[in-house]
């Protein structure tokens, strides 16, 4: 056996299910809400009771079109729903209303970054609307069915098999989530199941044009798990092929505890879903004017925003990338820039002290008691030497704890810097006495020794001394005198 792993190429395609955050379910008026008691958010329609009929939620269609436009998809002008027939206890009608040959969106693409700093385009085959299934809880002696989730609107986004490594799959998911988070269409919370990802993966010899036999991976509950599961599965497929066996087409479940994939139903024959047009729903048409309208109202998407921030506010790509990771943070940043001109300074704050506070509090920027006005007020206190940068960081923490403004806190705690010559002269007297050797060094022309004395001054004054002023006074006394 001369073939080695490096002579194989990996082919990955992803199917992402996004729960849409409409108020009501896809086909009935039950509330679309997570975490309620079992079977309290159900009605004859989502229970699939005899005689009940579905009616399409207009908002879900709008969300799907919005996502399609943001992913550069074409939108079908004639759209219909179909039934996908299969038996499972969490599927109360034993068919799922989905879309087969006329999905609402098709032929889109998103770009992911590559190591050499350029971009790679990952195609999106299609995105179609469907209804979510219920939840099964497995007890020792039975399974229990909760239909609250049944009928939640889902958009299934199917990528082309364009990814060539688990990292690319990870980057695709990150990018997709980032775009979705800008559209106000989903929580995108993998823990709550509002974003779910299945992966199709195969390997083939380098240069081959035919695809290898793929396996489908399910049950990954984070993007990292997707990457790890793919790494595991690719490795497994390599071993299978290198040992002279063939990869079997099957569905595999990722076991997060054992960190391995487990075969699910390899013995079951291929599914025969018997798709046919849903007779209980009529088709719908999407006018170009509707698509234009949606496009017109799309928010600025992450990528154009990134480029604009670099261009308009002179941010580094690194800083801008962090700022645009969340739409609310990007908005916050721009709101600050409306009342304060220095983008670099605001981004330093947002990506530094503010980010630390957000992490410590495990909160979004919108949930931490901070407005753009208050942050700018704080920055200005540093600019006008009222407080030092160091103190300002403490003040920020206190602002968030108390909900008070920086001015109030500086006032209450007496944190304003001491810039008064008399008070500082007394302080310098002490330092000169205590550090004669440093004084000599300064006098001998070692400029950096000034910094040591300034540091000592800050210590003694508990941060309140104005460091700039102290430095000036030291120099004036020791060098000019």
């Amino acid at each position: 056996m001369t073939t080695t792993q490096t002579q194989f190429e990996t082919v990955i395609g992803l199917e992402v299910h996004v729960q849409l955050s409409t108020h009501t379910k896809m086909f009935c008026s039950c509330q679309n809400i997570f975490g309620e008691d079992p079977n309290t958010q159900v009605c004859p329609v989502c229970l699939g009771l005899p005689g009940s009929l579905p009616v399409v939620n207009k908002k879900a269609l709008e969300f799907a079109i919005r996502i399609g436009c943001a992913l550069g998809c074409k939108i079908n002008s004639f759209v219909k729903f179909d039934r996908k027939n299969y038996y499972y206890p969490d599927c109360p009608k034993n068919y799922q209303i989905s879309q087969f040959d006329k999905p609402i969106c098709y032929e889109g693409a998103i770009d992911i970054p590559t190591e050499d700093g350029t971009h790679k385009t990952i195609g999106i085959t299609r995105a179609h609307l469907e209804e979510d299934a219920g939840k099964l809880v497995h007890a020792d002696d039975c399974s229990l069915v909760d239909y609250n989730r049944t009928g939640t609107p889902l958009l299934e986004i199917v990528s082309e098999p364009d990814m060539r490594s688990p990292q690319e799959a990870y980057d695709y998911l990150q990018k997709l989530k980032l775009i979705l988070s800008y559209l106000d269409v989903s929580d995108c919370d993998m823990e709550k199941g509002s974003l779910r990802c299945d992966a199709n993966v195969s390997i083939r010899e380098m240069g081959a044009t035919e695809f290898g036999t793929k396996t489908e991976l399910k049950n990954m509950n984070s993007f990292k798990a997707v990457r790890t599961a793919l790494e595991y599965e690719i490795n497994r497929q390599h071993k299978v092929v290198l040992s002279g066996d063939k990869v079997i087409q099957e569905t595999l479940l990722w076991d997060e505890n054992k960190m391995m994939t487990v075969s699910m139903r390899s013995k079951e024959a291929a599914h025969d879903y018997r798709y046919f047009p849903e007779p209980d729903l009529v088709p719908f048409t999407v006018e170009q004017s509707t698509i234009d309208e949606v496009k017109h109202h799309l928010p600025e998407l992450p990528e154009p925003k990134l480029n604009r921030f670099i261009d308009e506010y002179k941010l580094s790509e690194y800083d801008a990338t962090i700022i645009i990771q969340e739409r609310c943070k990007a908005n916050f940043f721009e709101d600050c820039l409306k009342i304060y001109p220095d983008g670099k300074k605001v981004s330093n704050w947002l990506n530094g002290a503010v980010l630390q506070e957000m992490n410590a509090r495990k909160s979004e920027i919108t949930d931490i008691n901070l407005t753009p006005e208050r942050l700018v007020e704080l920055i200005k206190k540093v600019d006008d030497d009222t407080i030092s940068n160091l103190v300002a960081k403490d003040v920020l923490g206190m602002m968030l704890d108390s909900g008070k403004s920086s001015a109030e806190i500086i006032d209450e705690k007496g944190l304003a810097q001491v810039s008064d010559d008399g008070a500082l002269d007394a302080l310098i007297d002490e330092l000169v006495n205590e550090h004669q050797n440093i004084v000599e060094q300064i006098k001998a022309g070692k400029d950096s020794a000034v910094g040591f004395l300034v540091g000592q001054a800050m210590k003694k004054s508990q941060g309140k001394a104005n460091p700039k002023k102290v430095g000036e006074l030291i120099k004036r006394r020791l060098l000019d005198g």
Partner: protein, 94 residues
């Protein structure tokens, strides 16, 4: 024509248990019906659009407005078997 294996396959898809003697009689019934239906193959349907709906209705939607769900006590009255407000079924083995 429809074989006994076809009948078994379709019964499996339909989740209907068939005893051995039922397979034969259903095979005969279905073959007779399918045989009759074969007459549709005589027609030329090139360029004919399929009719899924008798009426040419389009764009029927519902506004995204919440209406009350069923009261769980009422819902669970229909249950064959239940536990803790959920429908109880035989253990599903993945």
């Amino acid at each position: 024509m429809i074989s006994e294996d076809d009948v078994k396959y379709v019964a499996g898809l339909s989740r209907i248990y068939l005893q051995d003697h039922e397979v034969g009689s259903l095979q005969k019934d279905l073959e007779k019906i399918i045989g009759y239906v074969e007459k549709l193959q005589k027609l030329d349907v090139t360029d004919i659009e399929p009719t899924s709906h008798a009426l040419p209705l389009t764009n029927v939607f519902r506004d995204d407005e919440i209406k009350p769900s069923l009261d769980r006590t009422e819902t669970m009255k229909i249950a064959v078997d239940q536990r803790d407000g959920a429908f109880k079924v035989p253990k599903v083995i993945e």
